[in-house]
């Protein structure tokens, strides 16, 4: 009896509680998690967010519909174009605007470029979390820079694009722009090859990533996880295929699926998704027709945003943002401002399974699991 008690006492180690963040080099912003550590092992983890809460939804409810567009850029600032896309789609649904053919193609091209930008950035930052000293990140940034320069040329800004309009886009693509995109698309596979040679077979990376943070497909679907995180768990769900919004059903592309749902799968699924995006771009660039870039009906709206009053009703528009299902829910009461405006942010919802993935892993794994979920705090906290 006594011996067991003694054993118990010596065995009882104290739990160390650590606050990761909000000021920490690898929490991707001001995210905080309270981690309970038993040695290096995680026995409890609580994500805490809200440090970057900027009142996005409330601000939007006091603004005319068109003026919300630049605010959506600030949600997920790594790929602002996907947010623009989602919001424009919602309002088009609400007001019943048609989008001209050429504008649809331009939208798809821009959204896929944004996806590529997002994925290479995420992979780069994930490697940084793994401890690689900026090399993969800077290689990724080198390529990203080319695409961002293009964005600057087309949309006027590198990150805060504010490019989509209800019923079209703001500015047309010139032939030079198309040629520049073509050049990027044709050069990208060479970069991907180099990137993969640097990373995918690296034994240290495989050791760190494989069988870490496993998320089963069932848990993922139950928790409402979307995007590459869900697909890495082997669930075939991509809104581009499911909804076929915009003109995605015209393109021939595949959905890469993961095998185990661990960090490595999430990493590699993203690499494969870049390849599929390149395929879409390739097709879109050959097929893009001439024509209008914005619906005639919504043209006056550009000059007088405050006069735009969509009919009473509600709409939910969703796109496959690089992070998952990005949805905008807007209720209109016939006034120039939305009565209710809500964002379904994939970053936030994907974060909910963080604890489940991290329990029992080492502290270093928690960082890369967080990195592999791919959160942007601007979107999580809104």
């Amino acid at each position: 009896m006594e011996t067991t008690e003694v054993l118990k006492n010596t065995d009882a180690t104290q739990i160390l509680e650590i606050n990761f963040g909000p000021q920490h080099p690898s929490t991707h912003g001001v995210f905080r998690m309270t981690v309970q550590l038993d040695g290096e092992k995680i026995c409890g983890l609580k994500p805490v967010f809200g440090y970057l809460h900027r009142n996005h939804e409330q601000i939007a409810e006091n603004l005319p519909y068109a003026a919300i567009m630049p605010y959506t850029d600030r949600l997920d600032y790594v790929n602002a174009l996907a947010n623009n896309f989602g919001y424009a789609l919602t309002i088009e649904k609400l007001a019943g605007f048609e989008v001209p053919e050429r504008a649809e193609y331009i939208r798809v091209i821009m959204a896929e470029l944004a996806r590529i930008v997002n994925h290479i950035t995420v992979i780069g930052f994930m490697l940084n979390d793994l401890g690689a000293f900026f090399t993969p990140l800077l290689y990724a940034f080198r390529e990203r820079e080319r695409i961002l320069d293009l964005f600057e040329e087309i949309t006027g800004s590198r990150l805060m694009n504010n490019y989509f309009r209800f019923g079209g886009v703001k500015r047309d693509l010139t032939n030079e722009n198309l040629a520049a995109i073509q050049k990027i698309v044709s050069k990208f596979p060479a970069f991907l090859k180099e990137f993969e040679a640097l990373l995918t077979k690296n034994e240290i990376l495989c050791m760190r990533c494989q069988n870490i943070g496993i998320l089963s497909g069932e848990t993922a679907t139950n928790a409402g996880i979307t995007g590459p995180v869900l697909r890495a768990s082997g669930v075939n769900y991509d809104i581009r295929k499911v909804d076929g919004y915009s003109i995605y059903n015209r393109f021939d592309f595949k959905i890469p699926l993961g095998e185990k749902g661990d960090v490595y799968d999430r990493f590699y699924v993203r690499v494969l998704e870049i390849r599929e995006s390149l395929k879409i771009l390739e097709q879109a660039l050959t097929k893009i027709p001439q024509g209008e870039i914005i619906n005639k009906k919504s043209l006056p709206l550009l000059k007088m945003p405050r006069n735009f009053k969509p009919p009473v009703g509600e709409a939910y528009g969703r796109v496959e943002s690089p992070k998952g299902e990005l949805g905008f829910y807007v209720v209109s009461d016939g006034t120039p401002q939305p009565w209710r405006y809500h964002v379904r942010a994939p970053s936030l919802i994907n974060l909910t399974v963080l604890e489940e993935m991290c329990l029992g892993q080492k502290i270093a794994d928690a960082i890369i699991i967080l990195g592999s979920i791919d959160i942007v705090l601007g979107e999580t906290d809104r």
């Binding site: 920490h24 401890g131 800077l138 699924v269 599929e276």
Partner: protein, 389 residues
């Protein structure tokens, strides 16, 4: 011609001897001895920090190039004054001590860490006759002193009263003690073959044969060298073994709570350790200061800097290990390999012909294969990614 070369070769030794002779004319012998010690000491005390300063610059430049950018190039030509600017910045920074820290130990740790780093310089043979103290147990001294480094790091991490620091300190202790063992055992073959613990004698044992007598040109030598080099990387907490400071996990690990000059001292110790460990690696396996044409000290520095560049190359390429993988790598992989290596070296004493070459390669290959098979966690899984529509 050869005379000029010899003169350049021994220029530092000759200069010191000349000064001592000059003083010997009018000073008692014991003062001359004191002056001799002082000269060596001052040279080392200057050499260490200067090497450290320019290693940081070299590292930043090389990593910059690896990442397709210029390194620092604003301060002075090619950024050559950058380390001095950094030094001034470090000196003028506020020294912050956490309120709850153990102030004495917090202060002592950065001072204590520089001492062993400087002490190792004593046994490094910089050139022909340029070993500061030619100890007959030089290697033993090196191993003993280099393992002291753990203590100040742990002192610093404990005294900071910071959880990140504490975790970093714990990792350091575990990591450095573990890697000490394969490192020591990797050195053993070199000692066995040269039959001496003195660093100078080990260099001399690799003489002749137009450089082909370097220990690295034997099967046990190359294995020993690789293991020693990996362990050295781990010993001075360089990536991919930089767990104690693990920037992305532990903020800055054991020196999270240090700022200003104290922080700089930790850095200094790290870089000086990197230099001395590379120097010792060059001494043990790459023939030390031996080499044709060029003066011996140039050979030594050249070899050392190539090894340091490899360390920097590692840093530019690899992600970090995880703590359990790191330990497993030391205990389950490197340790058995060093033991096999010692066995091979013992056999090499008797035969060193072609058959021995083939035999040892075979043995090493088999043992490597077996170890990889036994350590399945290290082997990447093959994954298949279905593309569905």
């Amino acid at each position: 011609m050869t005379k000029i070369l010899e003169f350049i070769d021994s220029i530092f030794v000759a200069a010191k001897a000349w000064i001592l002779c000059l003083l010997g004319h009018f000073l008692p012998a014991w003062i001359v001895v004191l002056v001799s010690i002082t000269i060596s000491g001052v040279v080392i005390l200057c050499l260490g920090p200067v090497i450290m300063m320019y290693l940081t610059l070299l590292e930043r430049k090389l990593i910059g190039r690896i990442q397709n950018r210029y390194g620092p190039n604003r301060v002075g030509i090619w950024g050559l004054l950058q380390p001095i600017a950094d030094g001034i910045k470090m000196f003028t920074k506020e020294d912050i001590v956490p309120a709850n820290a153990d102030k004495v130990i917090h202060l002592l740790a950065p001072i204590a860490i520089v001492v062993p780093a400087l002490m190792i310089f004593l046994v490094v043979p910089f050139g022909k006759g340029m070993t500061t103290v030619n100890l007959n147990i030089g290697l033993l001294y090196f191993i003993a002193v280099s393992s002291i480094t753990i203590l100040p790091i742990f002192m610093g991490s404990w005294a900071s009263r910071n959880k990140y620091s504490l975790l970093g300190g714990m990792r350091t202790a575990a990591q450095m003690i573990s890697y000490e063992i394969p490192m020591t055992l990797a050195v053993v073959p070199a000692i066995m073959m040269s039959q001496s613990l003195a660093t100078n004698a080990i260099v001399l044992a690799q003489a002749g044969g137009h450089g082909l007598n370097w220990f690295i040109f034997t099967p046990w030598g190359i294995v020993g060298f690789i293991i020693f080099f990996l362990c050295a990387t781990a010993e001075c907490n360089r990536p991919p073994f930089d767990l104690p400071e693990a920037e992305s996990e532990l903020v800055a690990g054991f020196h999270t709570e240090y700022s200003g000059m104290k922080f700089a001292l930790f850095y200094m110790a790290e870089y000086m350790n990197a230099f001395t460990l590379c120097g010792i690696a060059a001494t043990l396996f790459l023939g030390g200061w031996q080499g044709p044409f060029l003066p011996s000290w140039l050979w030594f520095f050249g070899k050392t800097f190539i090894l340091i560049c490899v360390m920097i190359w590692f840093r530019g390429t690899f992600p970090r290990f995880r703590v359990d993988h790191l330990m497993a790598f030391a205990w389950k992989f490197l340790l058995p390999l060093t033991l096999i290596n010692i066995l091979l070296t013992a056999l090499w004493q008797f035969t060193s012909n072609l058959a021995a070459w083939c035999g040892s390669i075979l043995v090493l290959g088999i043992s490597l294969w077996t170890l990889v098979k036994l350590n399945r966690t290290f082997v990447p899984e093959k994954r298949h990614y279905p593309l569905e529509s």
